[in-house]
Symmetry: D2
Subunit: 437 residues, 4 copies
């Protein structure tokens, strides 16, 4: 076993009274909730890009992260050290899954062939480590936004040659994901959007994007990749307007181009809130359409207008997320990926542990509380009861399409003013709060 975090032990579960910051107070992997272990419910994943490659630089400053294992080079030795440190981290944290971008593990070289060769080597290292430690790739993806060639987008580039480059890169990233037994592959929008409409043909670019995804679907079929394909809503940043703005926009796009059977959604909290939705709204919208596939578990800051990717420490939020997941009977092949980064001031290696503990404990509590709310049933019953007037002959007749406006006008005229009932929003919020303990 490697030892890049020599002073940090495997993180134990110590229970809610522990004051040891390097312990789980709530995440007890084998504890059973609603007939399944926490491990199986939560399917935590760690993101290689944030945990290993994010140096905590920001638009106003150089990186601060202390990474003694990283010499900054693109040598295969350095690549291997990063991977080894990553798996040591996963192991000590009891995190079962991971996610990665192709360029995270294989920086771009001078030629495509050389880049692909390095990628193959990196994939080999990943494979060995995941097999040794029993870890699984939750999803892979391609980085189609960092390189200057993608300045005007990848699939939506003004240049057909850039589209071709992106296509080749995605092919290799799907191959890598397939080889590693990945449970999914994410097409995050990256720079698929526009900076300004003054120089953009939006319908053309959306059609290019659809064509690109169709080719990927065709490829998946041919190679027999069984993982899910995801697209990921995000409203803005880096572009002014991302084509995958939110869940509804993604659904509209998938319906328009007849791709709804081929893709599910990977939904991120901070993207939801940047689009002025609650995370619960986005999750329920996707779940209702049958496309809630996986979750990027982070959060934003209510007063900051950019993607802050905070670690998720909002307990009420975690309850709401886990309640949707439990109602769905789990995310299946999906999981909870911490697409989250430490604050720039948390630059020591141990802060990686603190940050992930914070997120995991928050979601473990969220799971337990969501299960308690479901078991109690007061909140779910309150919703159902509100619509009970629809469980009637009239309701049936409307829902089955056997009613006209005239029929209903007649009914209204007969009954006169309907008797209205309070929605009891504050009472329900208070009951919800009673479970936060």
């Amino acid at each position: 076993m490697t030892d890049f975090f020599p002073d940090i032990p495997s993180i134990p579960f110590e229970g809610s009274d522990s004051t040891n910051p390097l312990s789980f107070r709530h995440y007890d992997a084998e504890a059973v909730v609603e007939g399944r272990t926490m491990r199986d419910h939560l399917r935590f994943a760690c993101a290689f890009w944030h945990t290993m490659r994010n140096d905590l630089s920001d638009p106003f400053g150089s990186g601060t992260a202390v990474m003694p294992w990283d010499d900054g080079s693109s040598s295969i030795e350095n690549i291997e050290r990063r991977i080894n440190a990553f798996f040591e981290f996963l192991d000590k944290m009891s995190i079962d899954h991971y996610c990665f971008h192709d360029r995270d593990v294989a920086p771009e070289a001078d030629t495509i062939d050389e880049t692909n060769r390095i990628l193959d080597q990196a994939v080999g290292i990943l494979e060995r480590r995941q097999d040794e430690l029993g870890k699984q790739l939750l999803w892979g993806t391609a980085c189609l936004f960092d390189h200057p060639r993608y300045v005007h987008g990848a699939a939506t580039s003004t240049s057909v040659d850039v589209f071709a480059h992106a296509a080749g890169q995605v092919r290799r990233a799907i191959d890598a994901t397939h080889h590693l037994g990945g449970a999914g592959y994410v097409f995050w929008g990256g720079r698929e959007g526009y900076s300004s409409l003054i120089n953009t043909d939006m319908p053309r670019e959306r059609a290019q994007l659809a064509r690109f995804l169709e080719m990927a679907v065709d490829y998946r079929r041919r190679i027999g990749f069984e993982g899910r394909f995801y697209i990921e809503p995000k409203p803005k940043e880096p572009t002014t307007h991302q084509y995958d703005f939110d869940v509804a926009t993604c659904l509209n796009f998938l319906r328009e181009f007849d791709l709804l059977d081929e893709f599910m959604l990977n939904i991120e909290t901070n993207h939801a809130t940047l689009a002025a939705h609650s995370m619960e709204h986005e999750l329920r919208s996707a779940a209702a359409a049958g496309v809630l596939g996986s979750i990027d578990a982070n959060m934003g800051h209510p007063h900051l207008g950019w993607d802050t990717d905070h670690f998720p420490t909002d307990l009420a939020l975690a309850v709401r997320v886990m309640k949707v997941v439990l109602e769905l009977d789990g995310l299946g092949q999906g999981g909870l990926n911490f697409d989250a980064k430490r604050r720039r001031g948390s630059f020591e290696p141990v802060d990686l542990f603190h940050a992930h503990i914070a997120g995991m404990d928050t979601f473990a509590r969220g799971l337990k509380i969501a299960a308690a709310i479901r078991s109690d049933r007061r909140l779910d019953d309150a919703i159902q009861s509100r619509y009970r007037s629809w469980d009637s002959k009239l309701g049936d007749s409307i829902q089955s399409g056997q009613c006209t406006l005239e029929d209903l006008e007649r009914h209204a005229s007969q009954i006169g003013e309907p008797i209205m009932e309070s929605g009891r929003e504050e009472m329900l919020a208070s009951i919800f709060n009673d479970f936060l303990r």
Copy 2:
């Protein structure tokens, strides 16, 4: 002719050097632009609710508007005076179209029958006045949000009886619109949304809404109403989350419930910006999907988070709107409805004139400038030229679906690094500005 605005003459066109505030400096109804009169391009409409019924109250204060013609009662005499004042206003302003809510002209009475009787009378008065003055109803609608019974929504109410009331009301509003020869009918979302997910079954409510719209489509067919049906995107207010959030959300809804052939969109600037989109984005999104039907021409304030319904005085915005309209070869049966209200401090009757002049002149300039930009072609050519690499054998092969990821990878490998070109955003913005004169 009535005379509710005795000191105000019909507003003349006096040209851009006039300093007479009660003149048009730009809107010259019969002036021809791109082969059509300004009147025909712009199809201005005035909203009865803002112009006649908005007393400029706000959540912190009583109404300030001075309306000498209105005694505050629901008597038929008062209803007639309001309508007469309205048409005098349209006439003096050379505005050809109008829009109204049923409850604007016929306040709710004690029984449905009585309410409908008053509505019929009001429609008779509207009919006489529009025929006398040659005005046209751009669209009608029903007010499904003011009455306490609609507190939990109308079509999306928890109560089936409220749904029935709404159905009856809509039937009568469609009848009224049909009778008046209206060019369209709008289903604005009103309270179709939720205050909180803690007491809401969102999928159920969306299905109710779809069923409601299907019944209206069925009714339209049966009575032979030829006007367009519109839904109107709005993200929030009065509810926390409106189901018709934005254009993409509306499109997704229409596709999901197979209603895309039956509805177009009525798009409002202030709703677009509350949803964090530019108006141009929303218009182009709708136009590309073939559903850009009509426009609510107002604007919001960039630092205020509610629907302020300012009169549109942003010249660059008007240029962008009119450029989309010209590209579409006009809005057809649709038009530009000033869904705008004076600020609370502009409470004198003459301010109605000032406000509409401001909006009409802004859009008249917008029209002229948009036509000049189109004639010049530099901006359109710049966009088209950016995608010219797609006009190639490779581009064709991709677009026609004859290419695989592997083919493209081969191509990318052969050509090496693509040559990139600047998007020239600042240069194009500067050229755009040169037209603002």
Copy 3:
């Protein structure tokens, strides 16, 4: 005793396991925390305007609130019934304090004299009821924003006559507050701001406001009113820009016009967040300047851009607020006023109870948790320890003004690169969460 809420008993404390929604699960008035009863720490107040006069209308709809005690008239009998219902509510809720606007209890009549006569009568009724039930007026205020005469502001009106009206009204409101033994008087900005700079002389209006406040200070001295004077930060709504934008803006104003010794601040959560600050930021800013006087305990919605005045049910927020209050050793004469309204859908009388229970229980838990955090000391110690390098000769020399840039340059050159420490933000957030139970 009156009986306007006949089916609702006095709300008992039943402890955290109770499922009775009409019970306190956390607010136990006589329970002692840090040596003082909950009652004394929290000093809850109920707002007459929201609880008795808010009919839950909004800009899109008529009122929904069921208020059987209110016939809608301005008769003295109706005024008395409202007051009686209010005090019955306070009594059953064990709320010790209340706040009111002059026009809440005494609607404006035809003449100033008549209005003042009604106000005197209403004050007499308030006095009797508060004395009977042992309730106290936390603060009074004047409604300088509802009447059309205040359309352009009150103290900042363009009209000197409106300024005079406002002055007279404030005089009477201060008298009423003084007579009732009020612990404070609030000058909320109302319409003191602007709709647009295009017709506003901002420096002139700010000077008018200062003069107005000086006159009130002079008046307070003369009549011997011992209550605190508060101004209340709010960034916008109803005006586009309120002159009392946030805490810093208020402090700047008070310093500029030499009023800092005369006023404290009444800080509202929803106003803080509309100004893009956290409530904790505003509280700490005011506390550091010695002007944290009282709190309007509500909350907004992160995705809505207007003043929603939700009842406060965010537990973490309540902890942060109460921690500041405990550090200050209490608010003195100030208190926690629920400037909060039920959602429009919660229109039944019992919802007033549910809503206030939700807020009171949230703050009671906030108090207990804040005290536990203080007793534990880990979080406070972490902050203090971060600055320990300043507890040094160099730190002293800087703080006492005995150091120059050159001295420090020399020091920097000698020590070389400073050793940096992580800020541990995620670890501390996780510890904070551990207390939320």
Copy 4:
């Protein structure tokens, strides 16, 4: 003369009908407006950091800017080439002033002494070039935010040693500015703010910042630097909350620590809008307090929540800015610094020219239009006239402090209801628009 932009000539003024994108259509340096040349009114400055050092990278991607003169090294030859390219750019653009950060021209070396030696060399090169070409330093500053040591702030760092480093760096940056005859020195907040209050002692940090500024004032006195000292409001980014939030916050800080006589403000449009203010509001607030010193002329995007630093192309905005500047009789030693960057897609060297032309032409038009509005007087007269009731005996008596609340109540009672006048906001907006040509 160097030749880094060989294909680009000096930009000529060609008048408003020119279609040459590499010409000024409005900026005619020697044209006279209100008795002064455009050059003297506008005092344009170019920012070294954006124009020479910004590679157009963003949080999601590597730099795209093509900079053939820059080999990426910190060699003195490379530093000189950057400076030479910069001055060639200034010369061809007819921009008279520039601004720079110390680290722009002198990247940090291994030791403080070595860094300072490189800075001295760079300053020598700047001095030669500015003297040869007749350019002036508008202001200098120190980069106290890029280096990891400033992760927790500079003057507000938790570490006294970091404070010392910052002090030494500022001393040298002031020296460099003084040596170059700079007209000002800016203390932009950088990381002076907090990421979270959970680990921050805000009052302590604000006091540190004040102490730091006092030391700089003391130093300025001792060396006889005559340039202005500026602080620069910004609400957030990079920190969650910057201590210099907005103009009012800066004024409050300067008053609290008795620094108001020593500092003016450098106000940036994009910072104003991120703080939810209009730029005009911030400018007028500063002007009224006598501290409007200089302007960072850029703009943001209304739907993006971060500092986008767009080049300013909003004509109405430029009119409003220049109207304030004309009312102030100019900015004195201050100027209009384009703290603006090209979009990432505008990566060619010629885009630097396009972008600055766009900004300069916009402000030249803004100047001409603002002067026309002032000469016309309709808008200014409208404001003044609104307050005319204050030009009365009663108004004088109030303003001079000889009136009591009782006096005013008597007056109000005598006059009865005041006669109210419309604020005419829409009419004035329409007149404003008439000037946009």
